[in-house]
């Protein structure tokens, strides 16, 4: 029961922060991708860091609240794919390639960097 509460609380907060960042970027840049990219990259690095930390392996509550809930809710896969599909329908090939590759390559690099950093930190 507690597990569901932790996941829901974290997920709600993560989605709310993602929405706020997306809105701020749309207001500034007029397009929805920059804000999505930022929350996705920050969230992916943070999850790598969290799961790399030896301490987290023993702390299930932290995994559920921060990992599954908050960072899972902060980052999104469906929005990226909907944005990519829209770019492809508009035949904006270069923007689609840049956004798609930028999201996936940077996410994997940052996940690796976060994971490595987490394993180096002994608390």
């Amino acid at each position: 029961m507690t597990a569901f509460l932790l996941v829901a609380l974290g997920g709600g907060a993560g989605a709310l922060l993602r929405y706020a960042v997306q809105r701020a970027f749309i207001a500034r840049t007029g397009q929805p991708r920059a804000g999505t990219l930022l929350v996705n990259l920050v969230g992916t690095f943070a999850l790598g860091l969290l799961l790399g930390l030896p301490l987290t392996a023993e702390n299930r509550a932290a995994q559920l609240l921060v990992g599954t809930g908050f960072l899972g809710g902060l980052t999104t896969f469906s929005t990226v794919m909907a944005q990519l599909a829209e770019l492809l329908r508009a035949k904006r090939w270069r923007t689609a390639a840049g956004y798609g590759l930028g999201t996936f390559v940077c996410a994997l690099l940052l996940a690796a960097a976060g994971y490595a950093a987490g394993r180096c930190i002994f608390v």
């Binding site: 599954t68 809710g73 980052t75 896969f77 469906s78």
Partner: protein
């Protein structure tokens, strides 16, 4: 304010649904394909495509639209778990599985989002024409 509350509620439900999928499918063994995250991400992409195709024909109120897309589907799908699972597979020596997982996730997500959009757009356009 109302829309923000809808996004938060949708995100909470989406994260719960993703957690439920993970519980149902179980934690992957070392080196195995991360099927829970893959399932949530692919299903979420299909649903967001369907929603987009619906919205192309019939606008929904902003609060409901954001509840479903930014909230529920945004919270249901996740890039961070995908990224860390891929890196862990590679770090544990399963490079081929890491590559297969990354490629399958990207391909399934893009195909599902595109197909969902095309399908819903066609279905709801026909429904609207039939009603007219």
């Amino acid at each position: 304010m109302k829309t923000s509350a809808c996004v938060a509620a949708g995100g909470a439900l989406g994260a719960l649904a993703r957690y439920a999928v993970a519980l149902a499918l179980g934690a992957p063994e070392s080196g195995a394909f991360p099927s829970a995250t893959f399932t949530a991400n692919a299903a979420g992409c299909l649903l967001i495509g369907l929603l987009g195709g619906l919205l192309a024909n019939r606008p929904l109120p902003e609060a409901l639209r954001e509840f479903l897309s930014t909230g529920f589907l945004g919270g249901f799908t996740t890039l961070s778990a995908f990224g860390v699972e891929t890196v862990r597979l590679a770090a544990d020596g399963y490079a081929a599985m890491a590559f297969a997982y990354a490629a399958a996730s990207a391909a399934a997500g893009l195909v599902a989002a595109s197909a969902g959009y095309a399908l819903a757009k066609a279905v709801f356009r026909n429904a609207r024409e039939d009603a007219a």
